[in-house]
């Protein structure tokens, strides 16, 4: 296995250990402020993040371990996304503590809060493992690690009906999608006798007949993937769960879970798409799903009045743009779909987290997720308003923000691959994006505030917001650092 101490899987191991240690800490220090757990988690994850940049892929990949553990650029990239997302979620969770206290605590003030800061760490481990998984068993296990942790997180506010309802919906539909996914994997295994993606690819090339069986398996697997990335028609859980879940969890679902879904999708789709005989069928399926996702996500977002729900639909529409990239087979363009998707997700992380962070802070003060709650935010807190403004215009894809570049590359890919109809959908979708994202800006800047009291922001949150704003703008103008991680 080469140099044991430099192997990338150490990162996951450290995260798991960190999570366990935090649980211990929480258990043995019942009187301590639970936020201590969160701060330690933050420091620990920051350490992992720094370490991940120093981690190199092993040069000798002959050991069979590496056949189900990928160490390419994409894997590292997604690991970084996972860690970063988790850190931001924990920051958000700290801001969210008062709300949690209200719906969770029994007896003592912070009773039952500790796990809320520990579980994301385990999710993070699962996400990181997913980034490297290239074999169905690994994929399945890491996927479920993430999903089951999320069941708990979504339903965490056990005295909040919305949170519970969301938890149950997520649970049932998640389990359902797992069922379909596993059944699909079963069929792939039956057809090829393999669970390694690379070997499946080779086996599929040599497969004769059984076209409908392959398509059947592909479709079922697509259900599992579609569920994770929120692709129509497997998106149905998204709005309700996003709305009901605690806001930090929603953010985590929106970024972490989706990112992991996309890296898995990138890896799983590859062997299928390389199958020349059925290439056009697979592509057709993907194109239809993509088109539906873009249209649904964008159009259904238009009439929304709840900001969290709006972000849910936004998440669907971004899934549409990301899927669009995956359907592409570029001819001239120098970035591969996989790179574009990764880049897009990195920018998506920044801007979505920015929005959710502001939402968390505003929620604490207004006790509402409605867009109307943001009325006159500009007067109450110019900084928050500006942060959210940057967040939503980046989501809408206004140039010189990071969000634009993602769309820019996706459009380029679509044109290069001649996906004209999807491009047309994407154009319409992007334009309607201006409509619903700016609804929030409209409320913040045009409307009169209902109250004028300033909103308090903790220094940590302020720092996080500032960093996110700067990153959103800087990467919008100078994306080379992110692209550098993906290409060299």
């Amino acid at each position: 296995m080469g140099n044991f101490l430099e192997a990338p899987y150490l990162l996951e191991a450290v995260v798991v250990v960190l999570g366990l240690a935090l649980l211990m800490l929480e258990a043995f220090l019942p009187k301590a402020d639970k936020r201590l757990v969160a701060y330690i988690a933050l420091f620990g994850l920051a350490g992992v993040l720094v370490a991940s940049f120093n981690m190199k892929a092993p040069e000798n990949l002959e050991h069979s371990f590496w056949s189900f553990y990928a160490t390419d650029n994409l894997a590292f990239f997604y690991k970084n996304i996972a860690v970063l997302a988790t850190m931001l979620v924990i920051v958000m969770a700290i801001e969210y503590t008062p709300v949690l206290e209200k719906y969770v605590s029994q007896g003592s003030k912070q009773g039952g809060l500790g796990e809320f800061f520990c579980l994301p760490v385990f999710v993070c481990a699962g996400l990181m493992w997913m980034a490297s998984a290239k074999e169905f068993i690994t994929i399945f296990v890491s996927l479920e690690t993430v999903t089951i942790s999320f069941y708990v997180l979504v339903a965490y506010m056990r005295r909040n009906v919305g949170s519970l309802e969301a938890g149950v919906k997520y649970l049932i539909l998640g389990a359902l999608s797992t069922g379909f996914f596993v059944y699909g994997v079963t069929w792939v295994f039956g057809l090829t006798g393999e669970t390694h993606l690379e070997k499946i690819g080779i086996a599929l090339q040599g497969l004769e007949g059984s076209d409908s069986a392959v398509l059947f398996a592909f479709t079922l697997i697509l259900v599992g993937l579609g569920f994770k990335v929120a692709a129509v028609p497997f998106h149905v859980w998204v709005p309700d769960v996003y709305q009901g879940a605690p806001t930090p969890v929603t953010a985590f679902l929106s970024v972490g879970s989706k990112a992991a879904g996309f890296i898995v999708a990138t890896r799983i789709l590859q062997p299928f798409l390389e199958m020349e005989r059925l290439h056009s069928s697979f592509t057709t399926i993907l194109v239809i799903v993509t088109g539906a996702t873009i249209l649904f996500g964008n159009f259904a977002a238009i009439p929304q009045t709840n900001f969290k729900r709006l972000l849910a639909y936004s998440s669907i529409s971004h899934a549409g743009f990301l899927l669009l990239a995956l359907t592409c087979t570029p001819d001239q363009f120098q970035l591969t779909p996989g790179q574009v998707v990764a880049f897009y997700l990195a920018t998506y992380l920044l801007m979505t987290m920015l929005c959710f962070l502001v939402l968390t802070i505003v929620r604490r003060s207004t006790e509402s997720d409605e867009i109307a709650a943001f009325s006159g935010l500009h007067r109450r807190s110019p900084f928050l308003a500006f942060a959210l403004l940057i967040g939503v215009i980046s989501l809408a894809g206004v140039p010189l923000t990071a969000g634009f570049l993602g769309k820019f590359f996706v459009f380029t890919l679509a044109i290069d691959s001649g996906r004209w109809i999807l491009l047309a959908f994407a154009v319409v979708g992007a334009a309607s994006g201006f409509y619903y994202y700016l609804k929030v800006a409209r409320a913040m800047y045009w409307e009169e505030p209902t109250e004028l009291a300033a909103i308090e922001i903790s220094p940590l949150a302020r720092l996080a917001l500032l960093l996110l704003i700067i990153a959103t703008i800087v990467f919008g103008v100078y994306p080379a650092p992110i692209l550098g991680l993906l290409t060299n």
Partner: protein, 503 residues
């Protein structure tokens, strides 16, 4: 020297950051605008009008592959646009109020960012930044109209933002299609231009891309029938926003057509495309029909307006038709005319909006029937408004005339004895000259001539308020009396563009 353009673009941005951090808003904004004007004038003076190609060029690589870099440079055409932006910005900032309801800083920042967007787009020689900078203005405009607009401000701000958003996304699709078809390696415009000959794109492909660009840019320019956002937005927007948007930003689309579509898609203009409802039609013919829509239809709409601000807004839509005509003529005379006309129109409409804004500030209304006799109450206002109105209807001595006359001559250049659609359209378009005189002089007659209404007051401009007005008037007159001051600079660049499709 080569970094001057970066300073030019980023100074307004830095100034807005400073304002956001607490610097005095008005002072910083005027300071930045003054420095920018000085830089532009310096660039203008030191521009070598014998050399073709980009001058003061500088480049800063952003992504290696596909090659995107923050490269800037000026040829004559962009030089003129930069000068226009700098002049209008200074005046727009200057006429801004000293106090507003809400955040004064945001007010000035928005103006500065709109200006930075314009400057960036005109300076950029990289397609990515050319596009991206223009969009910088979108949100400030949204905020300005939405917060400080008048009338149905929310509705119109909403409309302009969504509409322009749609336009820019379509434009993006067109630009990217162009990029991919020209090799898909580099966004550098010069590189793309060089690839045109080798790419040998099929004429139909070129035509489709051209059409997409025409629609995308067209929405930004308020090309008929994509115009309905413009007039209400300009009418409702705070004065500096109307000045900057109608005066500068709207020219981006036209500039873009000349900079990108025309030279890079030489075969796209005359190839018939099967379009729904229209049958087989070339992009050129389509453009001519639409620009006639601008000139005649919107001209008539302008006549029917009862409010000065809506009238000015519509007139600015209408005049875009002439610039289009200059582009449609497809020769260097027409192109030069288009550029000069852009300059003239930009200045004159900014002046008109500045003066109308002053009236609205005092009277609270711009309904023409409720105003009257202002020439007697405020002679300076009356005189300068007359200058602006005369410029806008294309009288000799003002920059607009030089542009218009070149546009018309361009359309007939080499026509021979055959009157094709281009010439026919030009003749119809000429009637617009009558139309614009009708609405302008009617409005001027009602607002400024005659006896003032009973009890009406209108203080004349103070010394400080006169300065921006005089700057604008002087710009119009200097260019109008001696057009070579611009023409000599733009000639080499324009001829390069004209050559691109002549081959």
């Amino acid at each position: 020297m080569s970094n001057l353009l970066y300073i030019l673009i980023f100074l307004p941005i830095l100034a807005s950051i400073a304002i956001a951090l607490g610097a005095p808003a008005r002072l910083s904004a005027i300071g930045a605008a003054l420095v920018n004007l000085a830089i532009s004038l310096f660039l203008f003076a030191s521009f070598d009008s014998t050399a073709a190609g980009y001058q003061f060029a500088a480049s800063f690589p952003v992504i290696p592959s596909p090659e995107i870099s923050l490269s800037v440079g000026l040829d004559g055409m962009s030089l003129v646009m930069v000068l226009l932006t700098a002049i209008v910005t200074l005046c727009a900032v200057w006429v801004s109020p000293k106090q507003v309801e809400g955040s004064l800083g945001l007010y000035y920042c928005s103006s500065l960012l709109i200006s930075a967007g314009g400057l960036g787009a005109f300076c950029a020689t990289d397609l990515f930044f050319f596009y991206a900078f223009h969009e910088l203005a979108l949100i400030p405009t949204f905020l300005m109209i939405g917060i400080w607009g008048t009338g149905a401000r929310k509705m119109v701000a909403w409309k302009i933002t969504i509409y322009l958003g749609l336009g820019s996304v379509i434009l993006l699709a067109g630009l990217l299609a162009l990029f991919i078809n020209l090799g898909g390696k580099s966004f550098d415009m010069a590189t793309m231009q060089a690839a045109v000959a080798a790419a040998e794109l099929p004429a139909t492909t070129q035509a489709w891309i051209f059409l997409t660009l025409l629609i995308g840019f067209g929405i930004l320019i308020s090309l008929f029938p994509f115009h309905s956002w413009a007039a209400p937005a300009y009418a409702s927007a705070p004065t500096p926003t109307s000045m900057l948007h109608a005066g500068v930003l709207k020219k981006f689309g036209l500039y873009g057509l000349l900079r990108v579509a025309v030279p890079m898609l030489p075969g796209g203009i005359n190839t018939p495309l099967p379009l729904p409802l229209l049958g087989e039609i070339t992009v050129l013919d389509l453009m001519l029909w639409l620009l006639l829509g601008n000139i005649i239809v919107i001209g008539l709409v302008t006549i029917a307006q009862k409010d000065l601000d809506l009238m000015l807004g519509n007139s600015s839509v209408m005049h875009m038709g002439y610039v289009f005509l200059g582009i449609a003529s497809y020769n260097s005379i027409g192109f030069s005319g288009a550029v000069v006309l852009m300059f003239g129109h930009g200045i004159s409409i900014a002046l008109l909006f500045a003066l109308a804004g002053r009236i609205r500030e005092h009277t609270g209304t711009l309904t023409i029937s409720r105003l009257g006799g202002f020439g007697k109450l405020a002679p300076f206002l009356g005189l300068t408004f007359a200058f602006a109105a005369f410029a806008s209807i294309g009288l000799p001595g003002f920059a607009n005339f030089a542009g218009e006359v070149a546009v018309f001559l361009g359309a007939f250049k080499g026509a021979g004895t055959e009157i094709t659609f281009l010439q026919g359209a030009t003749i119809v378009a000429l009637w617009g000259v009558v139309i614009s005189a009708v609405y302008m002089l009617r409005a001027y007659r009602s607002v400024f001539k005659g006896e003032p209404h009973e009890g009406a007051t209108m203080p004349d401009l103070t010394f400080s308020q006169r300065i921006p007005v005089l700057i604008l008037v002087a710009s119009l007159l200097i260019v109008g009396l001696y057009p070579p001051i611009l023409l000599d600079k733009i000639k080499p660049g324009i001829e390069l563009i004209a050559k691109a499709f002549a081959e």
